[in-house]
């Protein structure tokens, strides 16, 4: 039981607990907090996998900006506890067992996957200058998608501004 294995186990349990709490919580703010827990434990897992840049980006962008947006919207709309009506009984008695079956089926087949064991030592992505190499790839090989996503963000900003403006 070495330290990396222990850390993986703890973070995995935290992530699954957060996901289950997301389903189980009655208030949306509790769901948001459990999703933040999932994201932070996933960031630690990315660190374990040797991708520190992606871990930092996950916390800065996902847990530190997107989830802040969710929390603000929940506060703004004063979203209260959920209401349940008749229709959700179908989801409860059919959807939930099927979902659990999906999880176990996926876990079983992924555990038997031949990708286990990994390749060479992670010299490329876990090395000391992986960030420099990643940014070189981003700006040389993937330059067009990079610029396209900048335009996408601009469109999203404009869209959000137009949609959330008070209708006069």
């Amino acid at each position: 039981m070495s330290v990396p294995f222990l850390l993986f186990f703890v973070c995995g349990v935290l992530a699954v607990t957060g996901a289950i709490l997301l389903i189980w919580a009655k208030e949306p703010i509790h769901s948001a907090l459990s999703l933040i827990l999932v994201m932070v434990s996933l960031a630690v897992l990315y660190l374990l996998l040797g991708a520190p840049f992606i871990a930092a980006i996950q916390i800065i962008v996902y847990a530190g900006a997107i989830m802040v947006l969710f929390v603000f919207v929940i506060m703004l709309l004063n979203a209260g506890a959920e209401e349940h009506t008749d229709f959700s009984r179908l989801a409860k008695y059919v959807g939930l067992p099927l979902g659990v079956i999906l999880i176990f089926w996926a876990a079983y087949w992924l555990l038997r996957s031949p990708a286990g064991g990994g390749g060479v030592t992670g010299g490329l992505i876990a090395g000391p200058d992986s960030t420099q190499k990643l940014s070189k790839q981003l700006f040389q090989q993937f330059l067009f998608p990079f610029e396209a996503t900048s335009i996408l963000i601009l469109i999203a900003i404009l869209g959000a501004l137009v949609l959330a403006r008070k209708q006069e």
Partner: protein, 102 residues
């Protein structure tokens, strides 16, 4: 070679994705459904980073970068739509937001 076998990370990714699907089907609040989509995207990100580590390629990390950026844009626009919807219908339950016409 990571100390933890790669398949363990994939199992965790699959479990998180499945839980995201369950949350999507089971919950009634539109913001919580949105959050379950983000959970599914996170599970997929974990799978990408795992495979990047397994094959020692940086392309997986680049894809994760783009998934995060696109999720940010999608969350911004989606939440703006949710705010507008809730102001029109005065409710956040998807059972009340099921007419195309206002």
């Amino acid at each position: 070679m990571s100390v933890v076998p790669i398949s363990y990370y994939l199992v965790l990714s699959g479990v998180l994705f499945g839980l995201g699907v369950i949350a999507f089907v089971y919950k009634r609040n539109i913001i919580t459904i949105f959050m379950s989509i983000e959970l599914m995207l996170n599970a997929v990100n974990l799978a990408f980073v795992t495979f990047a580590r397994a094959h020692d390629q940086l392309d997986g990390l680049v894809f994760v970068f783009f998934v995060i950026v696109v999720a940010a844009a999608e969350a911004a626009v989606g939440l703006a739509i949710v705010i507008m919807l809730s102001q029109n219908r005065q409710s956040l339950s998807i059972e009340r937001i099921n007419h195309l016409k206002l």
